[in-house]
Symmetry: C2
Subunit: 390 residues, 2 copies
């Protein structure tokens, strides 16, 4: 690949060269890689007054090693997404101090004072009143700005062209939007789900609906997406007494259907709810779909008067938002299903003392969200579906 | 722009340099530019046994001159479309002997023995049994091959990226898919249509439906399209006793909704039918929508078993084809409307002794095709609509 793979001991000189750090006698670095794909280092000075994160994409999947090659260009997609969000919602992403495309490395805000939302939820924490609303606002602001409503036609076409992401989109097309519904070596599940996994694979109606969502994923160039907006891509906490929510890791970013980002978040919220239910620890879980949708819809409607293309009228906005809703419900279903019987599972369920009952509920829910997304026209309908699960 | 604008006297040397012509003592050249945008020259030898066409994109719109600049990159789009069609339907386009991207010039088959379909129809000719069927097959073969059904995912993303065509898409987005529905200096119409033009501009439901079709045009990256498939982009004739149909001028090519190509052809067929009706000269006009749709649908279904991505099941094909149909009906409506009250009108109507009655019927038909496309679920329904016009 011809670029420098950074190790912990390289970071001080690297930050010095790139102009991010002056006093190289006062810097300590530790590796904090956590996700599947990349390496992350934290650099800080002795008194803790200054710190930075360095994230580098390797030419392979970090947890698998060089036997699973993966283009480090995904860091370009990540930097591009951060650049676009920074124009319109800088408070909802980490500060990016610089991107080094040659070495596929981002120098960013240290967020180690914040917690990953999934980790917090797994430990029994609540969302609180701000988290899902911020996520909904994030999707509204980011997607509006990079849609044909927020961006002039020619600029949009350039964004579509530069944002194609064949390798990472293929992962989603395969791992999320087809493999769980066919026999595939990637799939695995708890033996207590054998019957349901077989039933889903034999479900012709489900297959057609997933095919539809998959083709929409491949062809609906509505807006630049995060592309992997699960609760592990969100950091939460408090700074100076104020709640802080940061969306990170947008390396799966591409121009696609807006409902995909919302749907991923909803799926993860619904699964976290099943965990809490299984543990008898439900708190504010049931509110998150409503909070995030209302913030998304409200945010998009607030931006609408600023659209660059006023041929689109208010009645079309209503229709478009209904379609985003319906897509989101469907994608929420696909994300739930693949997280229970597909390649990569969720700690929300896998760390339960008995993951089977919650996983069964989740699978049934996922299937209905996909197949009945056309009838599930509002939050109340989805909540009624959750309430109806056995 | 830094490239050589070819004049008639440059063509012999140009064809010699590019290796298309050996004996430069035996070549005669004439300019036959006909469309709005480009220059076309025909070169032939004295005994007529050999001839070639040279088409060059100017850095402006030919008929307007340098005061209306237009990127000659549109020739790249044209060459790209021909290249893709040549893989799967070489019999339905002119033979391309070479493309010179530096000078935005294509060297192609001489088709001067064929007639432009619109010219033939305007003169009272019939379509004959082959023309519309070939057009339907053309759309099926071209669109299937450049869709996610016919092309592997990564190759498709590269095609989407290289095929963005901001300038020419913007023309369609403006001239076809918005201006006719608002006050715009480009619009003009016969005074006998004043009431209908005003009614269409005041029609809120129509505006929303056009906004929907417009957004689909901007975002639905289904397949590489011709982009301007009217009856002036089709040549017909006979060679060695066999019918010949050639689609040409795909400079508006981009990755968009498949229904757009079909809809444009249908609109032009329906307008030619109104011309014939006004002249009391109806022949096979009423059959063309059925012939082209059946050939398209049949062609797409024949190709389906060869799809590269077998996750897409037969039930999804049915759904997808229904959507293409519905889009095509809507785009047929937008094309009719813009050709009567928008910027560029059709000789089919303008050369009628009294263009008003046929134009009124066409406008009413266009409006209903747009607004009621969801109910007009088959050819019979569209024919019933045509029959119901006052």
């Amino acid at each position: 690949m011809g670029y420098r793979i950074l190790e912990t001991h390289d970071i001080p000189a690297y930050l010095g060269e790139r102009g991010h750090w002056d006093d190289l006698t006062d810097i300590r670095v530790r590796e904090v890689s956590d996700g599947n794909m990349n390496r992350v280092f934290l650099a800080s000075c002795a008194d803790g007054t200054r710190s930075l994160a360095v994230k580098q994409a390797l030419p392979w999947v970090r947890v698998a090693g060089p036997s699973w090659p993966m283009s480090p260009d995904r860091a370009d997609a990540e930097a591009r997404a951060y650049r676009q969000v920074a124009r319109v919602a800088p408070d909802k992403i980490p500060v990016v101090h610089g991107y080094d495309p040659e070495n596929h490395a981002l120098v960013m805000e240290d967020m180690s004072d914040l917690r990953v939302l999934r980790t917090l939820l797994d430990a029994g924490g609540a969302y609180g009143p701000h988290t899902s609303a911020r996520i909904g606002e994030f999707v509204a602001q980011f997607s509006f700005a990079t849609s044909d409503f927020g961006m002039p036609s020619a600029e949009r076409k350039a964004l579509v062209a530069e944002s194609v992401s064949p390798e990472l989109c293929k992962i989603t097309e395969d791992v999320v939007l087809s493999e769980p519904y066919v026999e595939h070596e990637h799939n695995h599940w708890h033996p207590g789900l054998d019957d349901l996994a077989a039933a889903l694979r034999a479900d012709a109606r489900l297959r057609t609906e997933v095919a539809d969502l998959r083709h929409t994923f491949m062809t609906a160039a509505q807006a630049l997406l995060h592309g992997d907006l699960h609760t592990g891509s969100v950091m939460v906490g408090t700074r100076e007494g104020a709640p802080v929510v940061r969306v990170f890791d947008p390396e799966f970013s591409f121009v696609g259907p807006i409902g995909y980002d919302l749907g991923l978040y909803w799926a993860n919220a619904l699964v976290s709810e099943e965990r809490a239910r299984a543990l008898g620890a439900l708190s504010d879980h049931a509110e998150q779909l409503r909070l995030s949708w209302e913030a998304f819809e409200g945010g998009f409607r607030r931006l609408w008067p600023s659209r660059v293309d006023t041929f689109f009228d208010d009645a079309y906005l209503d229709r478009f938002l209904r379609r985003v809703w319906t897509d989101a419900v469907g994608y929420a279903g696909t994300e739930i299903v693949r997280r229970v019987i597909g390649f990569a599972h969720l700690t929300d369920l896998t760390t339960l003392p008995d993951p089977v009952p919650a996983s069964r509920r989740a699978l049934l829910l996922g299937r209905e969200l996909i197949v009945r997304r056309g009838e599930l026209t509002d939050v109340t309908a989805v909540r009624a579906l959750v309430a109806s699960l056995g």
